[in-house]
């Protein structure tokens, strides 16, 4: 019985969270978090993405898209958006879609975060 339990544990540990297609590894601000006013968001992926076919946008709770500049890291694993202005208090939705360089598969996702403080002057 102990051998069966060990085998099952090994199987579970062998389940890899990322290889062929990637996943969103880290988001800043974090998914569902509450933060002070910011003027950027950063999404870190486990695999390189195609910069020309990947995008991220921020939408406020009135449904209006926040304007900004898309940035990519050297290794094409970090996608950022620097907004033209600091975000004011409210709830925001981040909507992203990426194309993985290695497999050519698209992946999309969205999450929300909240800004509480007023933007700095």
């Amino acid at each position: 019985m102990v051998r069966y339990i060990l085998a099952v544990c090994l199987l579970i540990l062998s389940v890899s969270p990322s290889r062929a297609c990637g996943i969103l590894e880290e988001a800043s601000p974090k998914v569902g978090s509450t933060v002070s006013s910011i003027d950027y968001i950063t999404l870190t992926f486990s695999q390189a993405i195609d910069a020309s076919a990947s995008n991220v946008k921020i939408i406020n709770d009135q449904g209006k898209e926040i304007t900004g500049t898309k940035l990519m890291s050297d290794k094409n694993t970090v996608l950022s958006l620097r907004t033209d202005h600091f975000l004011s208090s409210g709830r925001y939705k981040v909507s992203w879609n990426v194309l993985w360089t290695e497999c050519g598969c698209p992946t999309q996702g969205k999450y929300k975060f909240t800004v509480t403080d007023k933007p700095p002057h």
Binding site: V8, L11, I12, L13, S14, V15, S16, P17, S18, R19, A20, C21, G22, I23, L24, A27, K30, V31, G32, S33, R91, C103, G104, C105, P106, T107, Q108, G109, K110, Y111, K112
Partner: protein
């Protein structure tokens, strides 16, 4: 068996279209491959193996199941299923199943997926002492619904999802006869639901609570797998619903998943002890995204 092997080989050998595809996904929701009832999606996937042990109101039975699913288009797939079982010193393969499934509705905003399926249990293809000598046709409707469209005040309910199936198994022979006489083969309503709570969904789309592997890949689940023969018994009574309630957990990676479930009999007629299921399942669409993991057309 040889022709089935040839068919599988031909499918694997085919090279493929430019369409990109990811397994049972609608909007932000990914439905895992469930263990006792089929999920609503189509994808390139391989279950190898699923091992179970249960008491179906008779002797304890061990089963080893394997299934290969191949997408023909983004929304249409075919499948081959083989099931070996052993009970009371008797063992062998049950009849092979061929299936086809078509997803006819995907609504990303509401994380809703609807599909239809037809399974052909090919009579007389298994071991004589185990398999039926007649075929069975089972048309089914399947659904999957994620709760990601709930209002933000119910954030922690968003990772919930329901999937379900409703089908009717129709035997091609109304009666079977042997040395003991003639037996009615009733039509059987095959139905079931699953209730899932996706921790990956919670982490990625609702709130990052800092879970690490393997918990950030875990989907606690309860499956209800039920069968109700239609019509009445020879004495005029309604036939009983049998089946099992399966609480468990699925660990869903990018390329494979591991599922573990207990099998609790629904009633005395469904069994007399708690069994189990263990499944290893491979997402071929993620393992071979540019070759055999893509739809044929």
């Amino acid at each position: 068996m040889k022709s089935v092997s040839c068919a599988i080989f031909l499918l694997i050998s085919c090279l493929i279209s430019n369409t990109v595809y990811v397994h049972a996904m609608v909007g932000d929701r990914v439905f895992p491959a469930t263990l006792t009832i089929d999920d609503p999606g189509v994808s390139d996937e391989l279950t190898l193996p699923q091992v179970g042990r249960f008491n179906n109101a008779g002797p304890w039975t061990t089963t080893v199941t394997s299934e290969f699913d191949k997408t023909l288009t983004e929304n249409w797939a075919i499948s081959v299923n083989a099931n070996w079982q052993s009970a009371n010193g008797s063992s062998g393969f049950d009849n092979y199943d061929l299936g086809t499934k078509y997803v006819f509705l995907k609504n990303p905003e509401h994380e809703l997926m609807l599909s239809s399926e037809l399974i052909w249990g090919i009579g007389d293809t298994g071991a004589k002492r185990i398999a039926d000598n007649f075929s069975t046709l089972t048309p089914s409707l399947l659904f999957g619904k994620g709760m990601g469209d709930l209002p933000d005040s119910l954030d922690y309910f968003k990772p919930f999802a329901l999937t379900g199936t409703l089908g009717l198994s129709v035997p091609t022979n109304r009666y079977s006869s042997d040395d003991m006489g003639s037996t009615l083969n009733p039509n059987i309503l095959q139905w079931g639901v699953t209730l899932q709570y996706s921790l990956p969904y919670l982490q990625q789309h609702v709130k990052d609570i800092g879970l690490s592997a393997p918990f950030n890949m875990a989907i606690p689940i309860v499956e209800f797998n039920l069968q109700t023969p239609t019509g009445t018994t020879p004495t005029g009574e309604s036939r009983l619903t049998t089946g099992s309630i399966n609480p468990g957990i699925i660990f869903m990676g990018q390329e494979e998943q591991i599922g573990l479930e207990a099998q609790i009999p629904l009633n005395h007629e469904s069994g007399n002890g708690i069994g189990f299921l263990i499944q290893t399942h491979f997402y071929l669409d993620n393992i071979f995204p540019t070759t055999i993991g893509r739809p044929l057309w």
